[in-house]
Symmetry: none
Subunit: 394 residues, 2 copies
C-alpha cells in the first residue's frame, strides 16, 4: 500500500528574530500551525550546518539528490526550466540581454528589462561544429546551450555581474576543451553583437538588447531517477522547474504562477490538488517569500507568509495524503541574503510520530520529533512514509 504526498517549499521563508520574533512567528499561520500540531516537526539544514545554500543546490538536496554529486552550475537548470531539452555533454548557461556601447562597455546589464523570442532566434548558429541554441524566457532573460563534442563548463562568465566592460571568457583549467569552449564563446559574443546591433526590434530603443551576457556554465549530465513514484512540479520561476525536470519530475503549466510576490496561490493549490489525482508526489514552489526577504521588507514577508497560509495551505490541512511544509533556506530580512540558519519542517500524515510542537516556526521546530535533519534526508523520509522505500541490508 502506498500513499501520496505534497511538498510545499516556500523560498527563503526561514528567518532570524526581528525585535524578538521571526516573520513565521508573527504571521497568521493557522494552517501551517495545524500541520505542525498534527504532525512531526524538526529543523532542517538544506545542505549542512553553517553552509549557506543557493536555491539550486538546496532544491537538488531537498528533492533527494546530493548537490556535491549532481551540481554542475546553474546553467542546465535554467535551460531545462526554459523548456529546452538537453543532451549529455551540453554546456548550458543562463544569460541576460544587455545593452553595450561600441566599446563593449555595459550601459545596462538588463537592456531595460527588454528581450524577445525573435532576438533569441537569430542567435542560434553553429560555430566550428558546435550548435548554439538560445531560448528567451521572461523579460531580459534567456537560456543558452552549446552542443557538440569536446566542450567544457570550466570557463568564466562573460557577464561581469556589474556595470563595466564585458568580460572576455577564459578557460578555468588547463584542458583543451576549456580553451576551445572559451574561444567559441568569445567568437559567439562578437557575432551576437553584430547581429543584434542592427536588428529591427532594437530600432529606436534607448537601451537596445544588443548583446547577451552568459553566466553560470554547467555541463548537463542526465541523472538516474532515485524514486519510483510519479512526481510533478508546480512552480513559477524557471530555476525550480529546471531542477524538477533535471531530477525527472513532470513540470506542470499552471496559470497565474509568476515566481513573484503576485503569484496566484489559489491557482497553484487547485493545480496541486488536481495533480494528486494523477501523480503520487507533488512539489509546490513559492518564490515570493524570498523576493521580499532580499528586499529586506519585513511587512511584505509577513504578508506573503500569511497569504500562503490562507490561500495555499488551507487546501492541504485536511488532505488524506502526506503534507510537508518547509523552506529551501533562510533569507533573513535583516541581512537581505541567504543564510545558513536552518529551516523548520513539518510532516503530517498517517503514522507520523505526532510531537508536542504546535507552531510552525524556527524556534518551536527543534523541539519536535525530527530533531535536526539535513535536506538530503528529506525525500527518503517522505518516500518511506509513502511506502516507496528501499531497505539497506535485510
Amino acid at each position: 500500500m502506498s500513499s501520496k504526498a505534497v511538498l510545499i517549499v516556500c523560498d527563503g521563508m526561514g528567518d532570524r528574530p526581528v525585535r524578538g520574533k521571526t516573520p513565521l512567528q508573527i504571521a497568521e499561520t493557522q494552517n501551517m500551525d495545524s500541520i505542525s500540531k498534527e504532525g512531526i516537526n524538526g529543523l532542517m539544514d538544506p545542505i549542512s550546518p553553517g553552509i549557506v545554500p543557493g536555491s539550486d543546490t538546496s532544491h537538488l538536496s531537498l528533492l533527494g539528490y546530493d548537490p556535491h554529486q549532481y551540481y554542475r552550475g546553474r546553467g542546465p537548470f535554467e535551460a531545462l526550466g526554459a523548456g529546452m531539452e538537453l543532451e549529455r555533454g551540453d554546456v548550458a548557461f543562463r544569460a541576460n540581454f544587455a545593452t553595450v556601447d561600441d566599446n563593449m562597455n555595459i550601459i545596462d546589464r538588463r537592456a531595460g528589462r527588454f528581450g524577445h523570442e525573435e532576438l533569441a532566434k537569430v542567435l542560434n548558429m553553429n560555430i566550428e561544429g558546435v550548435d548554439i541554441l538560445v531560448r528567451h524566457t521572461v523579460e531580459h532573460r534567456c537560456a543558452l546551450v552549446f552542443r557538440g563534442k569536446g566542450l567544457s563548463d570550466k570557463i568564466s562568465d562573460v557577464d561581469p555581474h556589474e556595470e563595466g566592460k564585458i568580460r572576455k571568457c577564459i578557460p578555468l583549467d588547463n584542458s583543451e576543451e576549456a580553451k576551445r569552449t572559451a574561444e567559441i564563446m568569445n567568437k559567439y559574443i562578437g557575432m551576437c553583437h553584430d547581429i543584434l546591433r542592427d536588428h529591427p526590434l532594437n530600432e529606436g530603443r534607448k537601451l537596445p538588447a544588443n548583446i547577451i551576457l552568459p553566466r553560470g556554465a554547467g555541463m548537463y549530465k542526465d541523472v538516474e531517477r532515485r524514486f519510483r513514484f510519479r512526481s510533478a512540479c508546480i512552480a513559477g520561476a524557471a530555476l525550480y522547474k529546471g531542477v524538477a525536470k533535471f531530477v525527472g519530475m513532470d513540470v506542470l503549466d499552471v496559470e497565474g504562477t509568476t515566481g513573484r510576490f503576485d503569484t496566484n496561490l489559489i491557482s497553484k493549490k487547485r493545480a496541486a490538488l488536481k495533480a494528486l489525482e494523477k501523480y503520487d508526489f507533488v512539489f509546490i514552489h513559492v518564490k515570493g517569500t524570498d523576493n521580499v526577504s532580499h528586499d529586506g521588507d519585513l511587512e511584505k514577508k509577513i504578508e506573503m507568509i500569511s497569504r500562503i497560509d490562507r490561500e495555499l495551505m488551507d487546501g492541504f490541512v485536511d488532505l488524506d495524503s502526506y503534507v510537508i511544509i518547509t523552506a529551501d533556506h533562510s533569507t533573513p530580512v535583516s541581512i537581505r541574503r541567504h543564510s545558513s540558519d536552518p529551516v523548520p519542517i513539518a510532516i503530517k500524515g498517517e503514522g507520523v510520530r505526532i510531537d508536542d510542537v504546535s507552531s510552525f516556526d524556527e524556534l518551536s521546530a527543534v523541539r519536535g520529533g525530527l530533531g535536526r535533519i539535513r535536506g538530503i534526508d528529506l525525500m527518503p523520509i517522505i518516500a518511506d512514509f509513502m511506502g516507496y522505500y528501499e531497505m539497506y541490508g535485510v
Copy 2:
C-alpha cells in the same frame, strides 16, 4: 557588514552527572548562563557521536578543519606551538627529556621534570642529509623536527609511554622512507645519549636529562586557510597554540597563561578584549578544566568552572560581538579520561534565534535552537553570523 566573534573553549569541561548533577550544573556560572539565556544553545559532538576526541583532533575540528583530512599526528602542533617554523615534508615530534641508566632502562620518563634550552641546542645536528632541530618548551618537554628529503611519519614512538626499556624506532609501513626515517631516529637517539650523558648541566643530578623520548610523529603539510577574517589565539599550552598556528591564526603571547589550573584568567580576558580591536576572531583556550578532570577532582573542577565564569566570562557577557562558549570534549571526573559525551554550546549575538534555554550545561543544551551539531559545523555557523560566508550554489 561584518561582525567580530570570541570563541571560548574550556578544555574537558563537559562531564557526566556525579550524584545527579554535572560540574557545570553545580558550579556558579551566572555569566555562562547569561550567554545561554540571551543566545542559542545546543549540544556538540566535537568529532561525531561516540567518537572520543583527542585535544588535537577536536581543536582542528572546532576551528573548521576536518581532522580526517588534516590530522597527521600531534608532532607538528607541538613544534608549531613551541614557536618553530615548519616546512612541507618536515616530520615533527613531541619529546620528553628523560633519565635512562646505562642499559637504556628508563629511570624517569620526565627527568625529574628537568629540561633546558642548552640541552636542546646541543641536540641539533645533521644525520645523512637530514637536519634535526630541537626546541625546549617547558619543564622536561621539547619539540623535535626532522627536515630533509624522503622522510616518513609512519614510524613508531621511541617513548614507551611507561617505565621500562626505551623502544627501538621501527617503520610502520613498507616504504623506504619509513625504514630510513626509523634508522636515522635510532642513530639519533644513541647520539643524544652520548652527548647528554656528559653535559655539564646534568652534572650531579640525581635524574639527569640524558636522553630524549620522541613520540607522535606527524608530517607537516601547510593548510589552505578556510576563513578570510583575521584570527588570533590566546592559549597557555603549546598544543593549542600549535593547532591555531597550523590553521593560520596569530598566536598572542599573554602573560600569566600557564596551560594549568593556576593560569591567569583575568590576563586572558584583558588580552582578548584588546585583541578584538585588531582581530575579527579571537579564540581563547582554557586548559585547567581538563587537568583537574584527569585527576578526577570534582571539587577542583567545580572551582575552576566557577573561576572561569567569574574571572573570564564576565568580560564577554555584554560584549557587542558574537560570544561562543563551549568545550573541546568531555572529561568526566568519574572516569578521568576524555569521553564522547557531547558538550554544551551557546552562541550569543546579533540575530541569533534566542531559545528557551537559560542554563549552560549538558542537559539543558540539547533543548536549544541549535539541536545537536558537530564540531566541524561550528566555524561555518560563526562565520555566517559574522558575515564571512560563502554560498554553495546561487
